[in-house]
Amino acid sequence: MKLWKRISLGITGLLIALLFIMPFYILVVNSLKTPREIAENVLGWPAIAQFSNYVTAFIKMNFFSAFVNSLLISIISIGLIIFVSSMAAYALVRNKTRASKLVLLLFVAAMIIPFQAVMLPLLGVLKTTFMLNRVGLVIAYVGFGGSLAIFLYHGFIKGIPVDLDEAATIDGCSKFQIFTKIIFPLLKPMHVTVAVLNLIWIWNDFLLPSLIVNKEGEKTLPLQLYYFFGEFSKQWHLALAALTLSVIPIIIFYFFMQKHIIKGVTDGAVK
């Protein structure tokens, strides 16, 4: 490539990157200012970094409890989605009956149902089954996350030869053992994809928790942030500190798991 072309490409890339980073820069520098500094100088550095904004936001938004809730709900939901969906997909692939085709079609078709279509009656269902709590939220994630996961696993399992199952049967494995000991470990690349796609969604989800868990101490991070923001929306220094706090965990996670995340997104989309 010609030199001038390389340089202009490089500069274009960096300029666009700057544009992409700008909102993060604005977020962080202003979260360290006093309200007066925000009003007077919104783009520059703070004279003295006000870390007290973070302390206040951390305490007032009950950050620790919200973070633990989000983490537990995400991990348990994703674990269940992985196990339940891969097992279902395995059964669907290995049984070539009309019933199994119909069930798969049902799961896949459900992917186009927008949440609003089931939102109100779902609340009724959860209420009558006494599940307007974190348990209900997890089951909701399994129910909604199942479709895409089963679809992805189904495509992958089709490529696993039946000979493996048969050999294991001869060795005395039960159906369940074949699944847990042989199939499940083979699905590892798909587990990563399913985990990544669901993590981005579940960790950031606001609407479902806002409808299902409303008790203090059960709230997730986005939910807690929403209420905090409503209360402190006139005090940007605190609101921005709370926003930064909420952004930090996922960004750290991103930098450690980048390869898996990008691969997960790619595989999930291309399938």
Partner: protein
Amino acid sequence: MKKKKNISFWLFLAPALISFALIVIVPLIIGIYYSFTDWNGIGVPNFIGITNYAKALGDEDILAALLGTSATPGFWSAFFFTVKFTVVSVIVLNALGLGLALLVTQKMKTSSFLRTIFFMPNLIGGLILGFIWQFIFINIFSAIGSATGLTFFNSWLTDQHTGFWAMVILFSWQMAGYLMIIYIAALQNVPEDIIEAAKVDGASSVKRFRYIVVPMIMPAFTVSLFLALANSFKMFDQNLALTNGQAGTEMLALNIYKTAFTFNNFGQAQAKAVIFFILVAIITLIQVSLTKDKEVEV
């Protein structure tokens, strides 16, 4: 033996099927029924026919909603705003996504760094992004406005027109990197030797792109268009956090939410939700079948 196999089949399916039925199928069926009743969230619903649909669709003057001059914004305002937003953001997002993908697949030292940066906003939830951009549009824009004396930068979120573009900007910033990832994967699958052969034959870079690259990355267009379309049409969090639907920037999902929880019209909200479901289904099915036709087998 056959019977035993059948039992294990259903046992393996049971956890997924039960949660799916409880969360999706049963509520969907109940929801369709509720849309024909006077349900208010509590008490016994009475069947009232298509009254909710008539009310939902007749809650404002369609022409005024289309022109954006509606005095009482309702379903149709939200509908036209959503459609407009979806059309614009599908175009902008895909152009940006493909552009970024082409940029970072050039042989550059910074390419992996750039990918990391462009993808980053996707990991942050729509609610948080909405609040961050609310700060930017309110504080940064007005600071630029008063520094430069340009009134153009003032109060973007309190006007339907600029509010619209504010949402397009926010959403493009969020999702372009996601589509970029999909386009990168497709671009990397275009065989190098075909491109080389075309070069030898004297095809210009524009022609190579138009006649070789584009047909070969058609599957990526299908997926990206689908994702952009579905996510724009169903947008909720960003809408809620950025403008809360003020100044005529309310989209369908938020309109349904408010009909239910702000105005307590559960039956009417459910009727709107059923219409919304049908719209989403029609649009996504048409789009997928249209672009699938254009895909070529390699």
